[in-house]
Symmetry: C2
Subunit: 679 residues, 2 copies
C-alpha cells in the first residue's frame, strides 16, 4: 500500500470500529474516521489518538449525505473502506424499523455509489451472525457450529439490514461494474470485552441488551441483578451457549481480512467469513468468569426463557482460520478482566458529570474542556494543554483568552502555558551533552533560547484528555510527543501531564520519558498568570515567599552563579516593585524526578480587595517569580497577572553543579509536581 | 372515502400504473400521479386524461426527493398510496444493481417515512412473483401452482428489491408506529396486453425481455424472429408454462385490494395476494394466440434453454379470488388482440419522429405541440386546441403568440382559435329550442353573443392530443367536454377535433355529440388569421372566392334574411376594401353533419410578394370572410391577417329556414370539415 493511501473507517468511533482503528494504525495503515456520532462519542476518537500517539482525519457526517462523503473521497486517496456505521440494537430495530433500513441500507448504498464514482474497489463489511437466524430451525444440528454456508433467515429488522446489505454487495460484485470489486463480509458472533488500556470500550447507553454490559452494570450497582433467561437448556449448566469473542480479536479479524483482500491483487472477490472463537460458553460460564474478574459474586435470578432464544449459536470459524490466518486468541476471562477495568475506570463510559468540551479555534484537535466542582470552574485547551480559565464564582483568577487565535499570536505572553521541553532561559541557546554541542532556537533577541524556542510544548495540540472522576476529583491526562530536533532538542520525548482538579485546587504532575537516543534535557513548568485582586491589576498583592534566596543574573538575564537574598520574603507588590527572578528553595536536590519530595509552599499571595488567597507549592528546587510587566496583548496589559513558575534552576544545563537537575537519560523519568490552591 | 381524499399513485405513468389510474377513476377515486418519467412518458398521462375525460394532479418527481414528496402530502389530503414506482428490468438489474437498490428501496423507504409523517395508513404495493424464485427448487411440485405461503428466494437484484421492500413494509407494520398500517402486497405474475382503446400499453424501449412485447416487435418487422428457449419441457407442447394476466385484470386487482383495505376499517393489516389467472399457458400457446391476432404466422426459432428458466410458474390465485373477490376475466386471446391494436396504432409507443411538445404557459395541461414534415411546420396548443403556428421554411403563414398569457388576454382576436360551441353571432344571445327560451352570454357590446361568449371552446384546455403518424400524415386528436350551462348553452357536449397534418396542408374535422339532454345548438369553425404576403400586412392579397353571394346584415351585424352579391368573386384586397361578411356556398344543405359533402373550395388567396397560395375548402354551407381590421394586440395590428371561417349561416338558430343546420339532437352527430392548403 503506497504511503499516501488511506483506509476509510465508517462508524470508527463505535465499539468495534474504535478498536479496529487502533489495530489499523498498529499495522501501518492510515485511517480516516467517518461517524455521525448518533450513537457514539468523539471522546472515543480522542482516546484512540491518545493510545496511538497520532491525530487522524475525522469527519462527523452521515453516510446518506452524498456530497459530504464525496468531498472526503475527493480530498484523500482512499484505497479501501471498512464499513461499520449502522444502527445495531436488535430490540430498537423492531420498534423503529424504517430508521434502521434508512440508516443502514441507504447509508451503504450511498457509500457504494461514491466508492464506484472514485473507483475504490475494496470493502470490508461489518456483518453479523444474526443473518443466520435460528439455526435450530432445521430440526437437527447440521448447522451447529454455524458455517458460512448456513442458509440465512434473519429474524429482526437489524439482522435483515445486515442480510440485505450482504445481498446488495454481492449483486454489485456480480455486476460488470463490480467485477473487480473485493468484498469481505465479516459475520461477528458475540463481541465482548474492552481495550486492555481501560481507555476504550462499549459506551453504555440505555439498558444493555447483551449479557456482559448488563452484568457490568449490576457490578457497579446500576442494575439490581442479572436475569438469566432459562436454565433448562441442554447445556452443561442448562443455560444457552453462545460464541463470545474479544473485541480485540474481532478488530484483528478486520486487519486479516483487509490484508487478504490486498494480497489477492486486482481480481474481484465476494466472500463471507465468520468471526468467532468456535468455542461456545454458556451464560453461566460468562457470569462466573465476570464474577472472578470483579472479585465477588453478583446477584442473579433465573427467569423464564426468552422467546427466540435457542440452545447453541457457536461459530464454525475454520474458513477465517485457514484463509485469513486469523484465530481468536483471547478467552472470556481476558474479556471479563478488560471489561471490568473499562467499567470501573469509566462507569458511565464517556459521559462524565460536570465535564464538558467544545471546539476551540474550530478544530476538534483543540477543544476547550471545562470542569466544574460546585462554584469552582477550570478550563483547559488541547493547545499546549493550557490552563485557559480558573474561576471561583464569578471571580476570574488567571489570565486567559476566549479564542484560539489569541493563543497562537506572538503577543501571547505564555498565558496558562505548560513550558517545555525547557523552561526559562538557556544562554545563547547553546549546551553540551555527552560531549556533543547543541544549538537551540534563539528566540529571545536572537540570543537566548526562551521557553524552548518557537515550537515548544505550549504551541502543540496535546492528545487527550483522558478524563476520569473519582473521590470528588477530576483526573485529566494529556499527552505530547515532542519530536527529536524540534527547536534543536535531541530525542523524541513523551510527556504525560496529569491534572488533578479538586475543589479550589489544581495539581499538575509532569512525567516525561525519552523514547529514543541516549539523553536529552528537560525542565517543565506551568506559566499561569494569576490575579487575585478582583480587579485589572495585581498591584498591592501581598506576597509571602517560601524563600528570600534568588539567583543573581547578568545583563543577558543569565545567572552569574551567585545566590543573593531579596531581604524579606514577605512584601507587598507595590507598583514601583517588579520581579522576574529565579528563587531557590532547595540548593541540594539535583534529581531529575522530584515527585517524591513533599510539596513545598513557594508562594502565598493575597490582596486586600479579595477574600481569595493563592498558595503555590511544588516539588521542584526553584521557581521564577514574574510580575507580568511585559504583558501587552489582546485585552490584557502590563501587570494583569503574575507568574509563579516552579522549575529547575535557570539555565541549569550550563552550570556543571546544577545540570543534573535537567539531564534526562534513557530509561529514566523526568518528574515534577505543582499545586495551585485557593483559600 | 370523503370527496376530498386522493389516492397517490407512484409510477402512475408506467405500464401497469397507467391502466390502474383509469380503473381508479372508473371506480370514483381521485388519483394523483407521481412519476420521475425515467422510464415512462407524460404522453401516457395525457392519454389517460383523454380516456377518462378529466385532468388530475401530476408531479414529475423522484421518490427519493423527500422535500418534493412532502410538498404533495402537504397540499393534498392523501388517504392511500398505490406504489408502482420502480426500475423493473430483470436483465438490467444484474448489470446496474446499485441503481435498482437505490431507486427501488430508497424510494420506498422515503415514501414510507413521508407517509408516517402525514399519518397515511394505507398502501398497496406492486410486488412480483419473482420474489418466489425458482419454486421447483424444492424438488417436487408442492408449490405449483404457487401459493402466497411459498418461501421466497428471488434470484436477481430486481426480484430482491421487491422482496426487501416486502420485508421493510412487514417490519413497519409489525412495529408500534405501524400497528394500524394497512399493507396490501400484490404479487404479479406475467402482465400482458394493453388498453382496448389502443391508446395505452407498454412503451417499447430497447430490446423487450418479455415474450409478447418481443413478438409484437417481430410482427411489425422490428425484430427478425422470436427465439423460443427450449421445447423439451414437460408441457403439452414442450415450452415452459407461465401465468399471463391481462393488464386490465391486473389493474382491477389493485382496486379490489384498495377497496378491501378500506373495508376493514382502522385495524392494521399486512397481507400478500397473488395476482394471476391460475391458468398456465405455454410459450407456444401465447405465440399461436398472437399470430391469430396478427392474422399471419410469425417467424420463430427454437433455441437452447435459458439458464434459470423452469417448467411451470403458475399462480394459485385463490386467496385473491376469495378475499378480494377479484378474478382475472380476460384470457391471452383478448390480451393478444389488445396488444396488437396498441402495437399497430403505436408502433414506437409514445415516440413519434418529428413530433415534439413543450410546456406552454407553464402548465402541463397546456403544451405546445410541434409537427414537422420537411420544411412545413405546424404548432398547436392545448388551450383551445389552437393553431399557434403554420410555416413553410421561414415564412410564417398565420398570426400566433409565443406565450399562453397573450392567448388568455381579452385583446386576443381569436388567433387560430377553434370557435364553439357556436361560431359567429347570435342575436342578443337569445334563442328558442323545443319551445324553451335560452339566454346566452352577451359578450358583444352587451347585445349579441359572439363566438359563444366568455368561456368558449377557445378558452379551455383540450384533452390530448393523441398523435399518430402514418401515410406521411400526422393524425392529431383533441377532445373537449363543454359543460351544460356554460355561457348558457344546454347539455354536455363532447367534441373531438381531428387534425390531419400532411405536407403543406392541414385538415380539421369536428365531431360533436350530446352527452345528455334532448338537443343543443352547435356551429364550429377555425379562426386562423392568414397572411401570405410575406410582410406585415395583408393589403393587396388577391382573392378568388367560391361564391359572390353573401348575407346582408342590419346595423347589429345580424342577417336581414336577404342574400346579395358582391359583384365579382375575384378581387384584390386593396387597403380601401374591408370584409366581415358571411358568404353562402350552399343554400340548400341543412344537415347537422356535413362531412359527407365533397370539400368545396371557398377561398383561393395569393399575393404578388409571395410564392405561396392559400386554398381554403370546407364541407360547410357558408363562411365568414374577415379582413382583420379590428386586430390590436401584442405584436399585431390592423390587417395583420385575414380569416376564412367555414361554418353554418350567421345566426342560423334564429332563422326558421336555416336553424336545422345548427340544432344537434341526442344520438345525432354534428360534423364538419375544413382544409387549409398551401401551394
Amino acid at each position: 500500500m503506497s504511503e499516501s493511501e488511506y483506509i476509510l473507517v465508517t462508524g470508527g468511533a463505535g465499539y468495534i470500529g474504535s478498536h479496529t482503528v487502533i489495530e489499523l494504525v498498529d499495522n501501518g495503515y492510515k485511517p480516516i474516521i467517518v461517524d455521525n456520532l448518533s450513537n457514539s462519542s468523539y471522546d472515543a476518537v480522542s482516546r484512540i489518538e491518545f493510545i496511538v500517539d497520532q491525530h487522524f482525519p475525522f469527519f462527523r457526517i452521515d453516510l446518506r449525505d452524498s456530497s459530504a462523503l464525496t468531498k472526503i473521497f475527493e480530498k484523500y486517496n482512499i484505497s479501501s473502506v471498512i464499513h461499520f456505521a449502522a444502527l445495531k440494537a436488535v430490540g430498537e430495530s423492531t420498534k423503529i424499523p424504517i430508521d434502521y433500513y434508512d440508516n443502514n441500507i441507504n447509508g451503504t448504498i450511498n457509500l457504494v455509489k461514491v466508492m464506484q464514482k472514485f473507483n475504490v474497489k475494496t470493502i470490508v463489511f461489518s456483518s453479523s451472525a444474526t443473518v443466520y437466524g435460528d439455526v435450530t430451525r432445521f430440526g437437527d444440528d447440521r448447522y451447529i457450529p454455524i458455517p458460512e454456508e448456513c442458509p440465512m433467515d434473519p429474524t429482526n429488522p437489524y439482522g435483515k439490514t445486515k442480510y440485505m446489505i450482504e445481498q446488495i454487495l454481492k449483486d454489485v460484485s456480480n455486476s460488470d461494474a463490480g467485477s473487480d470489486l473485493k468484498v469481505a463480509i465479516l459475520r461477528y458472533f458475540n463481541p465482548i470485552g474492552a481495550h486492555p488500556s481501560g481507555l476504550l470500550g462499549e459506551n453504555p447507553l440505555g439498558i444493555p441488551n447483551n449479557l456482559l454490559p448488563y452484568l457490568a452494570q449490576v457490578a457497579i450497582g446500576k442494575r439490581e441483578k442479572l436475569s438469566i433467561f432459562g436454565n433448562d437448556y441442554a447445556s452443561h449448566d442448562g443455560t444457552p451457549i453462545r460464541d463470545y469473542i474479544h473485541v480485540i480479536d474481532l478488530a484483528k479479524g478486520h486487519i486479516a481480512a483487509l490484508n487478504y483482500l490486498h494480497k489477492i491483487g486486482n481480481s474481484g472477490l465476494y466472500r463471507e467469513w465468520n468471526l468467532g472463537t468456535g468455542k461456545g460458553s454458556t451464560v453461566f460460564d460468562v457470569y462466573l468468569s465476570f464474577c472472578k474478574a470483579v472479585g465477588r459474586e453478583l446477584p442473579y435470578e433465573v427467569v423464564a426463557r426468552r422467546s427466540g432464544d435457542v440452545l447453541d449459536l457457536t461459530a464454525k470459524p475454520d474458513r477465517a482460520n485457514e484463509e485469513l490466518q486469523w484465530k481468536a486468541e483471547l478467552g472470556i476471562d481476558e474479556a471479563c478482566k478488560d471489561l471490568w477495568k473499562w467499567t470501573t475506570e469509566n462507569p458511565f463510559g464517556f459521559q462524565i458529570d460536570n465535564y464538558q468540551w467544545k471546539e476551540f479555534s474550530d478544530d476538534l484537535n483543540d477543544r476547550l474542556h471545562t470542569f466544574k466542582i460546585d462554584n469552582f470552574k477550570v478550563g483547559i485547551i488541547n493547545y499546549g494543554a493550557t490552563i485557559q480559565n480558573i474561576q471561583i464564582g464569578d471571580q476570574l483568577l488567571v489570565c486567559g483568552f476566549d479564542n484560539g487565535s489569541d493563543y497562537k499570536s506572538s503577543s501571547n505572553p505564555y498565558f496558562g502555558a505548560n513550558i517545555g521541553r525547557f523552561a526559562n532561559r538557556i544562554k545563547h541557546g547553546k549546551f553540551t551533552l555527552n560531549g556533543k554541542k547543541y544549538q537551540l532556537s534563539q528566540n529571545e533577541g536572537d540570543k537566548n533560547c526562551l521557553h524552548s524556542g518557537f515550537n515548544g510544548f505550549d504551541k502543540q495540540n496535546w492528545y487527550g484528555p483522558i478524563v476520569k472522576f473519582n473521590d470528588d476529583k477530576f483526573k485529566v491526562d494529556f499527552k505530547l510527543i515532542d519530536k527529536d530536533g524540534n527547536d534543536g532538542f535531541p530525542g523524541d520525548l513523551e510527556t504525560i501531564l496529569h491534572y488533578i482538579i479538586g475543589y479550589k485546587f489544581i495539581e499538575i504532575e509532569y512525567e516525561s520519558k525519552l523514547l529514543n537516543g541516549e539523553s536529552t534535557i528537560v525542565n517543565l513548568t506551568n506559566h499561569s498568570y494569576f490575579n487575585i485582586s478582583n480587579g485589572d491589576s495585581i498591584d498591592d498583592t501581598e506576597f509571602e515567599l517560601g524563600t528570600d534566596q534568588y539567583l543573581k543574573v547578568d545583563d543577558e538575564l543569565i545567572p552569574t552563579g551567585e545566590i543573593a537574598s531579596i531581604g524579606s520574603a514577605k512584601f507587598t507588590l507595590t507598583s514601583d516593585k517588579s520581579f522576574d527572578n529565579c528563587f531557590i528553595v532547595n540548593e541540594n536536590d539535583d534529581r531529575i524526578d522530584t515527585r517524591s519530595n513533599e510539596l513545598k509552599q513557594l508562594v502565598k499571595a493575597s490582596h486586600k480587595d479579595s477574600k481569595i488567597t493563592l498558595i503555590v507549592s511544588s516539588t521542584d528546587p526553584a521557581f521564577q517569580l514574574y510580575s507580568g510587566d511585559g504583558i501587552n496583548t489582546d485585552g490584557f496589559k502590563k501587570r494583569s497577572g503574575f507568574c509563579v513558575e516552579p522549575s529547575r534552576f535557570l539555565n541549569a544545563i550550563n552550570q556543571p553543579n546544577w545540570s543534573k537537575q535537567v539531564i534526562l537519560k534513557k530509561d529514566e523519568t523526568y518528574g515534577g509536581k505543582i499545586k495551585y490552591e485557593f483559600k
